[in-house]
């Protein structure tokens, strides 16, 4: 029946609902409220029913009450004047004998986000903060943060912020956890004006509370402690040691938050043996995270990537747990691949190369490319692995799978440059696969290889002139440039056989080629060759600087910042938070209190525009979300 409600899309439904909401039968009114919420969910505008819905608020049916509250949360802002009508019921509810109802009322009132309600909220909130029931207190504490967001001055003048600070000593750990969240939240809203500073005695309280908190509370406390600066080494050691057992929590984010704390405190704790002990304890829980749900694995892997940049040797013994399972989601596979290359050492490079070979046989083209690139990274990094890597690559090329061959060609070029002369034997066989290669980057790589090592290929002249056939049809200039270069190199190495080819190449390039860069390059070579062949030799056949691995590590300062935010969005994106989080305190540069009212009006206009345009971009004054249809 409720499904039918969701599906019902009839004209003039609001009118019908209006009658139903005013029905004399309780059941019909209840059903109508449900339908209003269902319509609200699918995004239909039911704000017109405001007064009618409100009439049903005075009820002892908790379900109806909750639904109407939900309605109010969504529409209060559109009808600030009418909300006042609801205030009485709210205030009455905050005095109910049932703590669940008291908490519900205070929670919802905070969510209304209407300045007009503030005046009526203050008194009940004050009582609720001192409520004998912890369930009400924990809700009230959160409510203070909501009030603060709406109007910081009101929250402070009424002593709410102070009351929250005092609640840090609450006997109930769940209240304490919410206090920590609320204070952290208010601190952030204020842009660090210092709503709250941790000191030694509060840290002590938190360390006690952490053992009794729910997992979410533990995270809040751990996060708060990350920003704390311990007084001395002793205190830092003490905090770390007391929080060490959190590493064994079943909740992955508790584990990551603990790791985050330990890594942040590394600079305060100086005893090497302790630090080593911490590192040792971190490993098994980090590995265990890899058996959790794929999304959590993903977050863990992105973070492990960061941690490894700080402590490269941390997981070197655990390489096998990062081997990809066939059914891992792609995003997990990519990250595993990254980590594998990172933790690989001379000792285990051999099994890893075999593993990468397996990956290169999979069907996901992008993943295969990554795997092939990983092989070349290993080859360039470890001298001893180069031989094996080249073997793997030539094996892969012999499968003749087009994208594998292409990618392998590209990476082989770098390997050949890194180890000149070592793999001359392989080059000749590569020419057999010329027909498969058609991606410009791969073609250019192959042509470069042929030009550079022409002396090792038996019928180089034929091969090159064969490739030259399609010179003018080539759309990509990198291939054309590579062909011109190769022809010149071939000529310089063996003038007798290469003369005809180079002449033809330069002629075609200068006379018929449309690309000015290619023409220019050909002219330069031509003049150089005719004026001073020795000079040409020193230009074309110069020893290349050795290929270095590009640096995959983040800059130190950024890494420092991200390690402090381990587990957060920034660590997943590997971008500092300031690049994508828009600070409320900085908004428009206005003082907070004045701005609240102003933005309220602005937002109203955006709402109506959004309704017209279908999709809005939610926030004024910040980088807009690009919408593409």
């Amino acid at each position: 029946m409720k499904a039918k409600v969701l599906a019902a899309l009839r004209k003039g439904e609001n009118y019908e609902l209006k009658t139903e909401l005013n029905s004399e039968y309780r059941e019909r009114r209840k059903e109508a409220v449900r339908r209003v919420i269902a319509n609200m969910t699918v995004g239909k505008d039911v704000s017109g029913l405001f007064t009618d819905v409100l009439k049903n608020m005075q009820t002892d049916d908790l379900e109806i009450k909750k639904l109407i509250y939900l309605y109010l949360i969504n529409y209060a802002k559109t009808q600030p004047d009418l909300v006042i009508l609801a205030v009485n019921t709210f205030v009455k509810d905050t005095e109910d004998s049932n703590p669940l109802i008291r908490a519900l009322a205070i929670r919802t009132m905070g969510c209304l986000h209407v300045p007009e309600v503030l005046d009526y909220l203050c008194d009940p909130l004050r009582t609720c903060l001192k409520d004998p029931n912890p369930y009400v207190r924990k809700t009230a504490v959160m409510c203070v943060a909501k009030v603060f967001e709406l109007n910081a001055a009101v929250a402070e003048e009424n002593g709410f912020v102070d009351a929250v600070r005092e609640s840090l000593s609450d006997s109930n750990s769940m209240v304490v956890a919410n206090v920590v969240s609320a204070l952290a939240e208010m601190n952030e809203m204020e842009g660090g004006r210092g709503i709250w500073r941790l000191d030694t005695s509060t840290v002590g309280k938190l360390l006690t509370a952490v053992n009794e908190c729910t997992e979410w509370g533990q995270i809040a406390i751990l996060e708060a402690l990350v920003d704390y600066r311990p007084q001395d080494e002793k205190e830092a050691e003490n905090i770390c040691e007391r929080l060490l057992p959190r590493l064994q929590h079943a909740n992955g984010s508790v584990v990551l938050s603990t790791v985050r704390l330990l890594l942040t405190y590394e600079k305060y704790v100086k005893r090497a043996d302790l630090l080593q002990q911490f590192s040792k304890k971190m490993v098994p829980p980090l590995v265990t995270l890899l058996s959790s749900e794929p999304e959590i694995q993903y977050v863990a892997l992105r973070n492990i990537n960061l941690i490894l940049q700080r402590q490269p040797k941390l997981l070197s013994k655990e390489i096998r747990v990062f081997f990809c399972k066939y059914n891992d989601p792609v995003y997990v596979k990519y990250e595993k691949l990254d980590v594998l290359v990172r933790i690989c050492s001379e000792r285990n490079v051999e099994p890893l190369l075999n593993e990468l070979k397996e990956y290169a046989k999979e069907v996901d083209v992008d993943f295969v490319r990554h795997a092939v690139q990983a092989i070349s990274r290993l080859a360039i990094k470890y001298d001893s692995a180069a031989e094996r890597a080249v073997k793997v690559l030539t094996d892969l090329i012999s499968t003749k799978v087009e994208y594998v061959v292409q990618e392998s060609m590209i990476v082989l070029k770098d390997i050949f440059r890194r180890y000149p002369q070592r793999f001359d034997g392989v080059i000749a066989t590569l020419c057999e696969y010329i027909d498969i290669v058609d991606k410009p980057e791969a073609m250019a790589a192959l042509i470069w290889i042929i030009g550079e090592y022409s002396e090792h290929i038996t019928n180089v002249g034929n091969v090159l002139s064969g490739m030259f056939e399609g010179f003018l049809e080539q759309e990509d200039e990198s291939v054309q440039l590579a062909l011109v270069n190769a022809a010149v190199k071939y000529f310089l190495k063996s003038p007798q056989q290469g003369q005809a080819l180079v002449l033809k190449a330069l002629q075609t390039a200068t006379e018929k080629c449309a690309n000015p860069d290619v023409r220019d390059r050909a002219y330069i070579y031509w003049r150089l060759l005719s004026a001073d062949p020795e000079a040409a030799r020193s230009v074309a056949l110069v020893d290349k600087p050795p290929v270095e691995l590009e640096n995959v590590n983040l800059p130190d300062s950024l890494l420092q910042e991200l390690v402090k935010e381990l587990g957060c969005v920034s660590s997943v994106l590997q971008k500092p938070a300031r690049l994508f989080v828009y600070k409320r305190a900085e908004k428009a540069g206005l003082p907070r209190h004045a701005e609240t009212v102003g933005s309220e009006a602005d937002e109203e206009t955006t709402t109506s525009e959004a309704a017209a345009g279908g999709v809005d971009t939610t926030n004024e004054g910040e980088p807009e979300l690009l919408i593409s249809f």
């Binding site: 908790l62 959590i296 587990g567 994508f580 999709v615």
Partner: protein, 421 residues
């Protein structure tokens, strides 16, 4: 923290939308739908950041669960939360799909109001929530449980257990459930093998008892090895373990039993693989593939595995399969799964069974190499632990000092058991 939670169906229609903060509007739901759900490119990350808004999503069956935040939220926490929400749905409705969400949307809104406040997770313990968020609507005055008790439990140190439980017969069941994960290379070398174990307890114990139980963990045994002098001398090295301070997957049954997960562990050393698989897969030209697969069970002959299912992948171009099974079990070619599915309902210990198959391939206009996905196994073995873990003792201490009966069961099942070919 979280600004909103949305649940979408497969098409991207919003089934549930709950805003917790005023920094986003309901229309962000459309942004997610356009950029992620109906995006033509496959999802490359469960976290999508657009401008300053981050969307976290998990998928379950035909649903998308999405959480939205505007700040640098704790991503790990968000995903843990979303999965917990999923678990909550299961526990309340028995399943979590479009139908269930639509039929229970009122209840889901109530739950969402309870589990998050201002975007911060509060109490997500099913047992506690079930006391006051119920499928039947409750009148505030006729509430069956004094609300004070409920709130005490929702905020107390033992959120997961009430202290006034009484049973006639005090019993405790401990189940050790292990999943073996394996990646075996085509050459038969073990690339990765580990066991993830769970110790689940079902207790019918009165009051607030303290339970102690011991395992044959290497650390423990080495320490008191001298004095206890355990005969079998076998011990297990547990690589990592986690304990639950709270009941998870908790269920308040009609008979008021509580079953919950006591701890989780992981071992990587000396894994007893219950099954050995020796595959030979030959591609005979482009039109035929020959399979010879031998499976051996590697546990005590008195035990037996049940529900063994071996999935042997075949190329998508397969047209006909001729399959022969030597030994127990039946095999059938399942074209929609691109696999030969070989089922053995009962597999005795130290036994073997083999399968040969010849698969004909249709000529393809474009020759695509077959990626050779791994063979995968599924099975259950009772009274066997792949890690070798045993519960040495279980003691119950309670103020009233009652007698209790304790039971221990073991089971090993396949986690991700892959054999490459």
């Amino acid at each position: 923290m979280l600004s909103a939670v949305f649940i979408y169906n497969q098409k991207g229609e919003v089934l549930i939308s709950r805003l917790y903060r005023h920094d986003v509007k309901r229309s962000v739901a459309d942004v997610f739908r356009i950029h992620v759900i109906s995006s033509p490119t496959p999802v490359r990350s469960p976290v999508t950041t657009l401008g300053s808004t981050s969307f976290f999503h998990i998928r379950y069956e035909n649903l998308w669960l999405c959480a939205v935040t505007k700040n640098n939220a704790n991503a790990a926490l968000v995903f843990e939360f979303l999965y917990r929400l999923l678990g909550l749905g299961f526990s309340y409705f028995g399943r979590f799909d479009e139908e269930a969400v639509k039929n229970n949307f009122v209840l889901i809104y109530e739950l969402l109001d309870e589990v998050l406040d201002y975007g911060y997770p509060q109490n997500i313990e099913v047992d506690t929530l079930k006391l006051y968020v119920t499928t039947e609507s409750i009148r505030s005055k006729t509430i069956p449980e004094p609300p004070q008790n409920i709130t005490m439990q929702a905020t107390g140190a033992t959120t997961w257990r009430r202290n006034d439980i009484q049973y006639k017969k005090n019993e405790a069941f401990v189940d050790v459930i292990e999943s073996v994960n394996l990646i075996l290379s085509a050459k038969g070398t073990v690339l990765r093998a580990d066991v993830q174990g769970q110790i689940v307890m079902r207790s019918f114990l009165s009051g607030m008892p303290e339970c102690k139980f011991g395992l044959n963990d290497k650390l423990v045994l080495d320490k008191d090895g001298g004095m206890s002098g355990v005969g079998d001398g076998e011990s297990v090295e547990i690589a990592d373990c986690q304990f639950h301070q709270c009941v998870r997957l908790g269920r308040f049954d009609t008979d008021r039993t509580i079953s919950f997960e006591l701890m989780r562990y992981r071992t990587t050393e000396n894994v007893n693989l219950p099954f050995k698989v020796l595959p030979v897969v030959r591609e005979m030209g482009k039109s035929r593939i020959e399979y010879e697969i031998l499976v051996k069970s590697n546990f005590n002959s008195k035990l037996s595995a049940t529900n063994v299912m071996i999935k042997v992948p075949t190329p998508p171009s397969a047209t006909k399969c001729r399959i022969k099974v030597f030994g127990p079990g039946k095999a059938k070619y399942q074209p929609e799964q691109n696999a030969i599915v070989w089922k053995i309902s009962r597999f005795q210990g130290l036994q073997e069974s083999s399968l040969t198959a010849i698969v004909d391939l249709a000529p393809m206009s474009k020759q695509v190499a077959w990626s050779r996905p791994p063979i995968s196994l599924d099975f259950q073995v009772l009274m066997f632990t792949a890690s070798g873990l045993l519960v040495r003792f279980l003691k119950v201490f309670e103020k009233s000092n009652y007698q209790s009966v304790k039971w221990v069961r073991y089971m090993t099942k396949a986690g991700s058991y892959e054999i490459r070919i």
